[in-house]
């Protein structure tokens, strides 16, 4: 019976679809990057050796495998530049995530508490910036932050400063840019949890004698933790590898691994080293992702 079998095949393929997707667009490219990271740089096209030559048969494959080594990784670990870039990226991502939480939580909270009719409008306003290019929005910040930009003009006009502040090309500008660019990623998951939060739980806390502030810290805050974790993850992970914001708004002292990767690839044309940086970046991020996921799993298990 052909029809049932093909239907059975189809029903087996549907749950497999996300895995197929991951294999085709994540695992295979990652394998290629990993392979390049184990190669040596060469002045050639493509700029690394060895190349896999399948026409050489089993011997060709053996030669190819023999040509792979971990040299790039030892270079990476040996040069403090890369270690510093990685640590600096983690630090910047952490500070930015905290800033995003400080700005995003009150924003999401007031959105969730707004009259029900207003919420879709507020939500649309949060998503609206996505309609323009990320690059253009970051460029716009250059116009705002540069010494003769709008921010300094406003500060001078208000008499708060005597001379323009140097904000552009500093770490401050990077934090401003990151907080601005990633705010929706923090606000949306927070809003989703806060909006679903049962208001009668707050009423119950007040009824039992908790002041509104106590009710917030004992009920709202712990119950919005899944949103805090999700939002922080959604911001922290891409910020670690962020390239555009530090490149456009940061100064030469803003060291981030994404920038290092870019310069290895395009300035130095050292593809193996750049690939190694990419692999390290991934490993750095896989660890927190797995840890978070495990924490989540344990939390839901305990909650059941």
């Amino acid at each position: 019976m052909a029809a049932p079998r093909s239907r059975r095949l189809a029903s087996a393929l549907v749950p497999a679809a996300p895995y197929l997707w991951l294999v085709a667009f994540f695992l295979v490219p990652f394998g290629i990057v990993l392979k390049i990271s184990l190669s040596d740089p060469a002045t050639a096209q493509p700029p690394y050796r060895p190349l896999l030559d399948l026409s050489g048969g089993v011997g060709g494959v053996r030669d190819f495998l023999a040509g792979l080594d971990l040299e790039t990784f030892s270079t990476l670990l040996g040069d403090s530049l890369y270690v510093d870039a990685a640590l600096s990226s983690l630090r910047i991502a952490m500070v930015a995530t905290i800033l995003l939480l400080l700005v995003g939580y009150p924003l999401a909270y007031s959105m969730a508490r707004a009259p029900a009719g207003w919420r879709p409008v507020l939500l649309a306003l949060v998503i609206l910036p996505f309609w323009t290019s990320f690059l253009i929005r970051v460029y716009a910040w250059i116009g705002i932050l540069r010494p003769e930009g709008y921010l300094n003009a406003a500060l001078l006009w208000l008499g708060l400063v005597d001379q323009p502040l140097q904000i552009l090309n500093t770490e401050t500008a990077v934090f401003i840019g990151l907080t601005y660019a990633y705010l929706p990623f923090m606000v949306l998951p927070l809003y989703a949890t806060l909006e679903r939060l049962d208001r009668t739980l707050i009423d119950a806390a007040l009824d039992l004698g908790a002041t509104p502030i106590r009710a917030f810290w004992t009920v709202t805050a712990p119950l919005s933790l899944p949103g805090v974790i999700a939002g922080s993850l959604l911001c922290f992970i891409p910020i670690v590898g962020e390239f555009v914001v530090p490149d456009l708004l940061g100064g030469s002292e803003t060291l981030m691994i994404g920038r290092t990767l870019w310069s290895e690839f395009f300035s130095n044309r050292d593809w193996p080293l750049a690939s190694a940086v990419a692999v390290v970046l991934l490993v750095i991020l896989v660890v927190p992702i797995v840890l978070f996921r495990e924490a989540e799993a344990r939390r839901t298990e305990a909650g059941r």
């Binding site: 049962d198 009668t200 739980l201 009423d203 119950a204 806390a205 007040l206 009824d207 039992l208 004698g209 908790a210 002041t211 106590r214 004992t218 009920v219 712990p222 119950l223 909650g303 059941r304």
Partner: protein
Amino acid sequence: MTRTARAVGAVRRSFAPWTDPAAVPLIRFEGVTKRFGDTVAVDGLSLSIYERELFCLLGPSGCGKSTLMRMLAGFEEPSEGTVTLGGQDLAGVPPYRRPVNMMFQSYALFPHMSVEANVAYGLKQEGLPRGEIADRVLEMLRLVKLEPMARRRPDQLSGGQRQRVALARALAKRPKVLLLDEPLGALDKKLREETQFELIDLQERLGTTFVIVTHDQEEAMTMAHRIAVMDHGCLVQVATPGEVYEQPASRFVAGFVGDATLLDGEVAGRTDRGLWMIRSAASPEPLLVDDPDEDLRPGQAVAVAIRPEKMVLHQDPPGPAAENALAGEVWDVGYLGDWTVYRVKLDSGALVRVSRANTSRFVDRPVAWEDRVHVSFAPDAGVILTD
């Protein structure tokens, strides 16, 4: 007439501070109105509730009973009028400073805390010493028989257990008044009946004033000392369950609490026995009703309300001694096991509900659809409604 000496409905216990003019009410609503925008949820309502009373606010959804309760809890402020508790005006007192606790309809248990922590929550806010909190939590869990569940989380409990946690949590602070919003609404029928009696028992032991909001008349009838029947933001009747059932104040109450047949008519006069004669399309003879109301005028439009169990169904024409005999045809028969409910279509076109207790397992002459029957009721079975 001996009727004044007779009691109305069932009398549970001798507790009736509302009949004592010297008694001071614990809770007082005075001219309370609550508006939400253009809608009036509670409309100029005055009500007194006494200490140790088990008081039920009964009404259909949207009648304002929940708003009334939320004003007691402090979640809503009256637009007009005052609410006092133990003589203190509650205006501007936030919920967390009121000696009132509430059991929420959804129970509103904190999902991230254990049963223990839920019960302890209110005590912690009071800043009681740790040892005392632990003692009181244990006492409360014992009271609701949930000690073995202390470490569980709410989602590991059954509906009935959750209801008891909510009760323990609300009682832990020993409030002057416990508000219960549809306390049994989420339980199934068997558990609901059991819990009703448990709540009555608990209330009697603790002596806490209970104010229960419900739309379930059976729940109100079983539990309350007094019931306030509400409709459209107004009180329609405030009385004991027996009075509400046997002497409904209006057509709304007669129809909302239990079933009743309403026969429209007008006052024709009074017999020498003191019975009111009501001329009605339902019967060629005037209906005779024994009603204490002395202020009826001849010609006044009224309705006679009769409860189904107080009507008698005759398969043969009743003798001339039967009062208020109405002829008709069986329209509907509903067999409920303990009762059988008949709907009889009178010759005037009016539908009358008659119920009969199935005291025997066997029936010699079953009543069938379209049978020609007669229905009668005693003069004191009917109530005259003037609204």
